[in-house]
């Protein structure tokens, strides 16, 4: 079958590209758009290393045929770093909390965390555990990751409280 044109808003930018039918959102992001933070770990939705935000919701991007989400907004880890390349509060918390070892699960974990914090700025430990329950980590034993997400949430609440109110 012929390739099709797909348009997505990726990390705030309109992107238009061709895909072969059956291409997953994951592979379109990685191979076509060069956004390789999302990883192909299992290709069946079991590991979570492909996690991205699709219209604000964390999803397994390996399971989404990209043609079916034409017109949607996608956010990857590349879009969650700050201007000029400095680390976001979540990234800093992961780094400083040693919540990453091989790094393979890390983009998925951070995206899942960002998805959680967008909905719930004051998560409990159990909220964090549930939010990352689709993300497998073979290195850290998860505790440092959970701690880092809670730390990031605290940092974010603090800076929100310290920020001047927009008039």
């Amino acid at each position: 079958m012929a390739p099709r044109v797909v348009e997505l808003v990726v990390n705030g930018r309109q992107r238009t590209f061709l895909v072969r039918p059956g291409t997953s959102l994951l592979m379109a992001l990685r191979d076509t758009l060069g956004l390789t933070a999302a990883k192909r770990g299992c290709d069946v939705g079991s590991c979570g290393s492909c996690t991205v935000l699709l219209d604000g919701k964390p999803v397994m991007s390996c399971l989404v045929p990209v043609e079916t989400v034409d017109g949607s907004a996608v956010r990857t880890l590349e879009g969650m770093t700050l201007e000029g390349g400095s680390l976001s509060d979540v990234q800093a918390a992961f780094l400083e909390g040693f919540a990453t070892q091989c790094g393979f699960c890390t983009p998925g974990m951070i995206v899942a965390a960002e998805g959680l914090l967008a909905e719930n700025p004051n998560p409990t430990r159990d909220d964090v555990v549930r939010a990352i329950s689709g993300n497998v980590c073979r290195c850290t034993g998860y505790t440092s990751i959970i701690d880092a997400v809670l730390d990031a949430a605290a940092r974010r609440r603090e800076s929100a409280a310290a920020a001047p109110v927009a008039s």
Binding site: G45, L54, P58, M60, P65, E67, T68, A112, R130
Partner: protein, 244 residues
Amino acid sequence: MIAGGTTVMGVVNTQALDFTELVSLRRAGLGGIQVTDGTAVVGATTTIAELGADEKLAFLRPVVETFASPTLRNLATVGGNLFVPQPGGDLAVCLLALGATAEIAGPAGTRTADVSDVFAAGVREGEIVTAVHFAIPAPGTWFYTKAMRLRLASAAVVTVAAVVTVQDGVVSSARIALGGAGERPVRARSAEDALLAKPLDRATVDVAAAAALKDAAPLDDAFSSAWYRARVLPVHFRRALLGE
């Protein structure tokens, strides 16, 4: 046919395919949840996450919270779950216990079928499930347990879903469905018969739990052996009905 893609895309990504076309229902306008007079009509492409977020269907929260993972719940659909083989298909087990019906549309028009018929025979060529209908159980009549190897994000060892009504101290009606007890959700009729007209107490439930095993053909797979499933089914049956 692909809705949420949580079963089909895994196959597309990793296996040789015997089909060359995918039809996506994602934007077919089949979503939405309506509740009227205690009856829910849930569109087939409603996601499991959307189900869990609806206040009127709060009785399904324990089902949603143990269903796969959040990133899968944001994709997986109610209609799709009717076609997922056990030990997947947690919601399908619930819909069987709820006596749900499926609205089906096809070239010959629309029809309604019990979900048990859809489990047994699928749908005909050219048909799709467009919605499921079920009565919301009265408070205190809904029971659900999913036994898993892990606390979260794990397929069922066994699932027990039940709507049991007690009147004048004895069970007046019972619909019980089992997961992990066959390729598709299984109706535990022997267990239901063992409960009727008896008090819902330990003695009765133990007899019913043993009877439930007669209705079950426990699966043997990577999650759990048939031996283990058979061993624990009566235990989880009892825990589900007695709230242990």
